[in-house]
Amino acid sequence: MAKIRRNEKREMPALNTSSLPDIIFMLLFFFMSVTSMKEVSYKVQFKNPQATELTKLENKSLVRYIYVGTPTAEYRKQYGAETRIQLNDQFAEVNEIGEYIVNERSSMKESDQGLMTVSIKADKDTKMGVIADIKQELRRAYALKISYAATQRTSY
């Protein structure tokens, strides 16, 4: 007959957690390698326009960015609220784009120079006059592969 045991000490065995740090570290490294840090600190603020026919920019080392938007609050006193262009970490004028492109291109490997893509990250309310000026500068600098940064539109 089965006997009902009582008062017999039966402790729950302690869970072995010694591998927990390793698992967490693995997760940590995964996130560290997958996530992309911001390329620069933005001095202009912009909201991407929306579109549907988007392609991903494949090779990050071949992409250079041009930011277009209004200066953020801390720079507004100095630079006003007009649309400005940011190259790397500083404000720039339209005519500086050519030089920037040439410099960036010469710092690339020779085999990659023809593959350079310029991503224009502009605010959706920007006037086309500014964009057209940038495009003319890019044409003159022979940076013909461009990409208008946009976010996927989910609905009309």
Binding site: T17, S18, L20, P21, I24, F25, L27, L28, F31, M32, T35, S36, M37, K38, P49, Q50, A51, T52, E53, L54, T55, K56, L57, K60, V63, T117, S119, I120, A122, D123, K124, D125, T126, K127, M128, G129, I131, A132, K135, L138, R139, R140, Y142, A143, L144, K145, I146, S147, Y148, A149, A150, T151, Q152, Y156
Partner: protein, 193 residues
């Protein structure tokens, strides 16, 4: 007497790495870099004047955007949502209409064989200096979408696959039938400030 080395208590290790993990989760931005890829035309050499190409009127689809972001296609006020269909009709000219581009028949080889296409069509986008970037991009987007849809249709018809699933060679073949011909004029001030 052998001294016993006390074991280091590693139970807080998990907490520390958790903290690091959460820090990285919060600070990094997962934004994917995507955008509408376009190709600019090569610059005109300074010693050469910009020549006005003589394009037959029927081969040209003029899309104008004014400073109030209104769209005009061939002189008609149009909604952006209708632009895609309009462009597709124009590019393909299925019924050989005489007000749409001239249709040629050509042997493309490969699986496509002899196929009708409009060789000389050009879509011209003109915008005002004050046009909003979003409006401009929407138009560009719709035109690219029209080409993408046409290419996809052809891929389904001839290869029974979608365009993106084809290998590079077949994609090139389809691009020959539907080359992207979107020309952009210099921005002018069309009045209406």
């Amino acid at each position: 007497m052998a001294k016993k080395i006390p074991q280091i208590n590693a139970s807080s290790m998990a907490d520390i790495s958790f903290l690091l993990l959460i820090f990285f989760l919060v600070t990094t931005s997962m934004d994917v870099n995507q955008g509408l890829a376009r190709r600019l035309p090569a610059p005109i050499p300074p010693d050469q004047k910009a020549e006005d190409k003589d394009i037959n009127k029927r081969n040209l689809l003029v899309v104008k955007i004014n400073s109030a972001n209104q769209l005009m296609v061939q002189g008609e006020l149009t909604d952006v949502k209708k632009l895609r269909e309009r462009a597709k009709e124009f590019i393909k000219n299925e019924h050989n209409a005489e007000y749409y581009p001239k249709v040629y028949e050509e042997d493309f080889g490969g699986k496509i064989g002899i196929y009708k296409y409009t060789k000389d069509h050009v879509i011209s986008v003109q915008n005002d200096v004050d046009t909003q970037y979003q409006a401009y991009l929407e138009v560009q987007n719709e035109l690219v979408a029209a080409y993408n849809e046409l290419r996809d249709e052809l891929a389904h018809e001839k290869f029974h696959k979608s365009y993106n699933e084809l290998d590079e060679e077949d994609q090139k073949l389809i691009q020959k039938v539907y080359p992207q011909k979107i020309s952009e004029a210099e921005p002018k001030n069309y009045g209406g400030n």
